[in-house]
């Protein structure tokens, strides 16, 4: 199940023929593993090895929709003489990422013991801005002042050099306009509303396999045709080596399985010389945090959420009897 035998046969290849990994039996697959390729302040890239598509997809879905974060959810408007109407500003405020390293200490508002709002399920902020002495004024996330000690504040982005970036612009006020609001942040997840999703991007793909029979291609095609073959790939997977006058694989990772090269090969009676497929046991993830949590934290939390679900399933099933029937 986990081996190369299961490779997508859409490309029409006998799977056993390729694969840098040896064909593993349904039972003897290697240990599941995560290998981090890149890790920066906001982005993590990793490989998920020796698992099934269902595991990879569950992880992806949980990262997007079920990792809880904090976000502004209720806006009480006391004064708004700006050009923008209340609902519009409320919506913008909701989308502001709030640092959520401490989400765990909060309850979901509908699961909290309190009747409406308490310190266990909400964080209060104040947004007060008056443009009195200038023609125009920007209201940004720095104007959002916490009313409690809870360490939930709008994310302060930092660039690659460690320098703080400008805060997020919420709106502009012109002279004599003012804004006075109370904001309430609550815990939630991306399933309820996308503003609670901790990620900007979470994508996963199967690693492509590109193999060419260099001898055959460089023997059976003339130089013009070889150059044509290299040029026809939209992702520049192949390169033309000017010294050897030969086609080489430059970047198999970029392949998007468009099969242009296969069609070309078939038209030139070289069906067996080009092989394109995807590995079924290796997934490359790119997770881009919105800054509310560190990227590795998001992945780790997602795994733990899945674990909790499975633990619950396992324990709940025990009441139906292990030895039934």
């Amino acid at each position: 199940m986990y081996g190369m035998e299961q490779i997508n046969t859409a490309t029409g290849f006998a799977n056993a023929k390729f694969g840098s990994s040896k064909g593993q039996g349904a039972k003897g697959f290697d240990e599941p593993e995560i290998r981090i390729l890149e890790l920066s302040k906001y982005v993590i890239k990793f490989e998920l090895l020796n698992t099934d598509l269902s595991v990879a997809n569950s992880l992806r879905r949980i990262i997007i929709a079920e990792v809880p974060t904090m976000a502004i959810d209720l806006v009480e408007v006391k004064e708004n003489t700006s050009a923008l109407h209340d609902e519009f500003i409320a919506h913008r405020l909701g989308l502001i990422p709030l640092q959520s390293f401490n989400v765990d200490q909060f309850n979901l508002s509908d699961q909290c013991a309190c009747s409406s709002m308490c310190a266990q399920c909400s964080v209060q902020f104040k947004l007060h801005a008056v443009c009195s002495d200038r023609d125009q004024m920007e209201v940004n996330t720095r104007h959002i002042q916490p009313l409690s000690d809870a360490p939930i504040i709008p994310v302060q982005y930092v660039n690659d050099k460690g320098i703080e970036e400008d805060p997020i612009l919420i709106m502009k006020l012109s002279k004599n306009q003012q804004l006075d609001m109370n904001l309430v942040a609550r815990k939630g997840n991306g399933k309820i509303h996308a503003k609670w999703s901790p990620v900007a991007t979470c994508q996963m793909r199967k690693e492509p396999i590109v193999e060419i029979d260099q001898d055959k291609i460089n023997r059976d095609l003339d130089i013009e045709k070889r150059k044509e073959f290299v040029a026809l790939c939209p992702r520049e997977v192949f390169a033309f080596n000017d010294y050897r006058n030969a086609v080489e694989i430059e970047n198999s990772d970029k392949c998007i399985q468009c099969i242009e090269c296969l069609r070309f090969a078939q038209a030139n009676n070289l069906e067996r010389a080009v092989k394109i497929a995807e590995r079924e046991d290796k997934f490359v993830f790119t997770v881009e945090s919105t800054g509310v949590l560190t990227p590795e934290d998001i992945v780790s939390r997602a795994l733990q959420i899945l674990m909790r679900k499975l633990y619950e399933l396992g324990t709940q099933m025990k009441k139906y009897g292990v030895n039934a029937d």
């Binding site: 209720l74 806006v75 009480e76 408007v77 003489t81 405020l93 909701g94 004599n176 503003k195």
Partner: protein, 70 residues
């Protein structure tokens, strides 16, 4: 208010003289130029007494409004 009487339709009859002596209802607006409050009645010129600006804004409803940020 003593000289007001109910007519047959249940409405209050007001004489012409009464109309003039009555204080006209005034509404407070905010000047778009200087931001100061102006009290206007239905006949007054739309012009700020402080700065001469001709655009006014309605005052906000006094009650607290709540919105879901979604």
């Amino acid at each position: 208010m003593d000289n007001t009487k109910m007519n047959d339709n249940g409405l209050i009859d007001i004489n012409e003289e009464d109309m003039d002596s009555r204080e006209k209802p005034k509404v407070t607006y905010i000047c778009g130029g200087c931001g100061k409050d102006n009290k206007l009645d239905k006949d007054s010129v739309i012009r700020c007494t402080h700065c001469g600006h001709r655009i006014f804004y309605k005052k906000r409803e006094r009650k607290l409004l709540q919105y879901e940020a979604r």
